[in-house]
Symmetry: C2
């Protein structure tokens, strides 16, 4: 009761109460007119969030399900693609390709760095058999923002599809699919969309749909061609996670009121807040440039164990942060700051981080880091987002 | 405002408000101790509902996803199985097998009839290469209850796995997996479990797990071996649909208080109510024997169009029923009576059915059908469920 429990995890995120309560309404049936009306309303707004005139299709699965849907819909067995692997979710592209017999060229990028688009262009030039590039927009395991716009400028000139996992980026930082030339963009519900997990969204470009038709359905559950056919009737192929669709409509109504541009502006300013605060504390920001707008990774100095720090912040302040993956399990703290979160909460998270850090034996020189962080936030809010 | 809207569809079903509001709680993170505690609590109760000592695994998908998970986990490419096809969901087994290269022997059963277990035994005797039998417990499109107990008595003596879609049957009528000898039982959240759609549950028998190990993972998203490994840590392989897991715990707590035996008793009595009422009205029950305890199909006489009747009942009485599939689209009404529903509501549904039927030009002789239906309910409740 001293502190409220708050999720600063990079998904699930906190939820506005009006979304939670909208989802507690009486159940609807997914084949009846009420559902179709709800879906219709969301369809238009989703186009704005994805920046596309193509249908944005809801699937009943986690974000990973949508990644599988993308691979199995766009590529046939034996097709060659490049999988950009700069973290846990980049590796997931490789695993999915392997499981579904798509040949993936492993393009490793050091954790914490953004892929160099020139490297991808060189690979494509060297091997014209490559049919796709699989990337994250935001690599959730590190907090890197890959330069998807530049990747799209390369792939759109070629017969190469750019498939983007936007799970922790859609509705967090801009990613206008049609304008940039992305061929497939997907996300999950529990990130920028401020919903519980269990709903994924995916859209294909016009040319990607042609590829999907040529490849044909390869996976009974993830059949985007059948989903598109149902979309015309504002239905889903299989039973839709109705309550999440109700919540989605509520979230999109909030976005419409606030405007999606304002959402990005807030996300950018929160990113500036946490980065300024962490720097003021003398802690290391894991990603130096090309950083995500929804998750920030902090690298701890030796001698301070991340799981210990995270457990203390949770216990003492109700501040729930995430740890690092693989080799960074012991030394990284990941702070999610997307969705239903504001600057005061994030400043509180910063305080908890600092306090737990000293409790774990770390040394902090700075005292006014909260003010510095808030100032950086205010400045960023005033100046607006940088172009991506 | 005259009538409350009520779902008498065979899933989604109506929801208790305490489940809806539990799901509106602050979000939990699926990798944190709170989630593990929640999962742990549900794991024990789920064993009772499934009647198994094996883990019951939650998946983030619709019921169909769990059907795909079963086929892809238990059978390799080219394996031969029998698919019992007595309705739309029986056909779905065939489609899934085809999509995932399992060779399915099509065993057609006339719609409205239960499979004859002797026929399956004869098929298995004639073809020892058959490795599995795929069936529904309740075929939702017709309201038939297949004799799964007798099927299991046949398959358990052989090296043949019995895979049962219990989507509209689990927590509706008894299906003790271990006692009967079922090798795979699966369900969806939006039926007897009184939750929104988006969560599926699946359990394998001990010998089915051995088969799954031998087959190995064939589908990246539906990897039951990986799910079982995560189960040991009370986690899910991918992000869990957290709010549905919270609702599940609430539902299972209700079951525990009321006991699952009482749930079955109520379901049986409701089935007697609706069947007695429909008979009293002089309307035709589509399934004469071996009928499901959660959905009842009514065949309308010629001249009365089911879509018209359903639309009238919805508009005038807020009574939402489902229609028939395929050739029965115009002539069948399906009444769902599982989950959070009581006898008074179902008697009201009967009234709406009768009233809409006469409004559509049908003729009814009987006047006291509601009393007859309630009497049948009371009698069934007193006498208790028949053995299955």
């Amino acid at each position: 009761m001293l502190y409220k429990k708050r999720l600063f995890t990079p998904g699930p995120t906190m939820m506005p109460r009006n979304i939670s309560l909208a989802m507690a309404q009486e159940m609807l049936h997914h084949r009846k007119p009420e559902f179709k009306a709800l879906y219709e309303k969301s369809a238009v707004c989703l186009g704005r969030v994805f920046g596309t005139g193509q249908p944005v299709l809801p699937l009943s699965c986690s974000g990973t399900g949508a990644m599988v849907a993308a691979v199995c819909s766009l590529f046939a067995e034996g097709d060659r693609v490049i999988a950009i692997d700069g973290g846990k979710f980049g590796s997931r592209w490789l695993e999915i390709c392997q499981a579904h017999k798509v040949e993936a060229v492993h393009h490793a990028v050091p954790w914490g760095q953004s892929v160099n688009p020139d490297d991808i262009e060189a690979l494509l030039d060297a091997d014209p058999s490559i049919k796709g590039v699989l990337a994250q927009l935001s690599e959730t395991s590190t907090g890197v923002l890959h330069r998807v716009r530049e990747l799209a400028a390369i792939t759109r000139k070629r017969k190469v599809l750019l498939v983007v996992d936007g799970i922790s980026a859609v509705a967090v930082s801009p990613c206008p699919m049609d304008e940039w030339g992305i061929d497939c963009l997907l996300t999950g519900s529990q990130k920028g969309l401020m919903l519980p997990p269990g709903l994924a969204l995916i859209a294909l470009s016009a040319r990607a749909w042609e590829w999907a038709e040529a490849v044909g359905p390869r996976n009974f559950y993830f059949n985007l061609l059948a989903e598109r056919k149902n979309y015309e009737k504002r239905q889903t192929h299989f039973t839709s996670p109705v309550s999440l669709m109700v919540g989605l409509a509520e979230c999109l109504a909030l976005f419409d009121e606030f405007t999606i541009e304002q959402v990005y502006r807030k996300q950018w300013a929160l990113t500036c807040l946490i980065r300024a605060g962490v720097s003021a504390l003398g802690l290391e920001l894991f990603v130096k440039e090309h950083y995500a707008w929804g998750v920030t990774s902090v690298k701890l100095p030796e001698g301070v164990a991340a799981p210990d720090l995270i457990a203390r912040a949770a216990k003492q302040y109700g501040v729930i942060m995430a740890g690092g993956s693989d080799e960074y399990k012991g030394s990284m703290v990941r702070i999610g700051h997307m969705g239903w979160i504001d600057a005061f909460e994030l400043a509180g998270c910063l305080y908890a981080l600092a306090s737990a850090f000293t409790d774990c034996g770390g040394y902090l020189g700075c005292r006014n880091y909260m003010e510095q962080a808030m100032k950086a936030y205010e400045k960023a809010l005033k100046e607006g987002c940088p172009a991506l």
